[in-house]
Point group: C2
Chain length 224, copies 2
């Protein structure tokens, strides 16, 4: 048990948690409440930690939320979550400034304090198009920064096993591990059911389809 | 007004704020409550913002404090703040895991949301010996990471004008700018008066002495 996993409660990070638990590496799950519209995802992260019998910390960054302006994920007053595919320019409004650097930096602090050897995150190749803080160049630069930040005091690595995989590949990995996909949450709108139309719902449906794995998700609306 | 300064309320960061304000670059001060024993420093940061007539945000990370174990600054239950010089090995217990990476990452998020062009921090050469996350190699790696994290969305630089200066040099800069040094707080013990004996008090006294600037600080005890 050497690894702390950042877990949103989504399909990717829940699969990551199962993969780490399968290798007996999972020590703890860490989630973040940053005032996201779809904070109900945190319930799914909690359920994942319970299923895998590891501790779960939800770091409260809601105080910070008022500063994370200009994103549809945190600023419901001024933005709508756009429908459509991630590849569309309209998706840009779902970028939250510096979100992943903040989460990872806190993850590394927790890992250092907890004696863990690595922090795992579920970045994958489908994220890269619009989110600069999901790309391999960011991940490499972040790991290099952390090596300097903790030098001589703590030794913690950044583990991103899905970085070169598409979301469909993650679905295949999860299916092989019997991940309960129905107990994961993707939709940015955070409603009763997955909306089926926002960027992350579109990507989720597509991934199951491409992977040839049955999609247990209850979508409110599926475009023809 | 292009720059957000991270300000603890200490001598270095208050001088940094005055220097930026002098060049009309200061847009906002940001401080962090991370459960530090000497959180009274935040009152001095607030006073600095008021004197310079800029907004002041205190980011509440107290929820995170329980995870920042193993440091004398955040874990009063298990540690004493050591007396003596920073160069002594005993000072190691004042390292807070990944503190500066967290603060800077949040600073960059605020800067991005606020349309600022840079985040300024008062790292200086005296910090380097025991704190890996104050060294030039960390600062360079952090700036490189941020460039990747915000690429194509925001353009925010890291400004560390004191990085090659000793604390005595900062006192000289501050004296030339009429910084009210008496309205800054250094002592890690966070008592009524500066203790005069902990690492940061020793360094503070030494800096005024080396700079040949009168030290207005009220120390409880000054070793012979």
């Amino acid at each position: 048990m050497t690894t702390i996993a950042i877990c949103s409660g989504g399909l990717d990070s829940v699969t990551l948690a199962y993969k780490l638990a399968d290798g007996a590496a999972l020590k703890r799950l860490v989630s973040f409440d940053y005032g996201q519209r779809h904070r109900k995802e945190l319930d799914f992260a909690r359920a994942c930690a319970a299923a895998l019998a590891v501790p779960h910390d939800v770091i409260d960054l809601t105080h910070l939320a008022s500063f994370l302006k200009g994103s549809a994920l945190t600023d419901a007053e001024n933005f709508e979550v756009p429908d459509g595919h991630y590849a569309e320019p309209t998706m840009r409004v779902t970028v939250v400034p510096n979100r992943n650097a903040i989460m990872l930096a806190i993850g590394f602090a927790i890992a250092a304090g907890d004696g863990a050897r690595s922090v795992a995150a579920a970045f994958h190749s489908g994220d890269h198009f619009i989110y600069p803080d999901c790309r391999p160049a960011f991940v490499e630069a972040f790991a290099a920064m952390q090596q300097r930040a903790l030098e001589g005091c703590w030794d913690v690595a950044l583990d991103t096993p899905f970085i070169d995989m598409a979301k469909a590949d993650i679905v295949r990995v999860g299916a092989a591990l019997d991940v309960p996909f129905g107990d994961t949450w993707s939709c940015y709108k955070g409603g009763e059911r997955h909306c089926g139309r926002c960027g992350t719902c579109v990507e989720r449906r597509e991934a199951f389809d491409l992977a040839g794995v049955a999609d247990p998700t209850d979508y409110a609306q599926v475009p023809a």
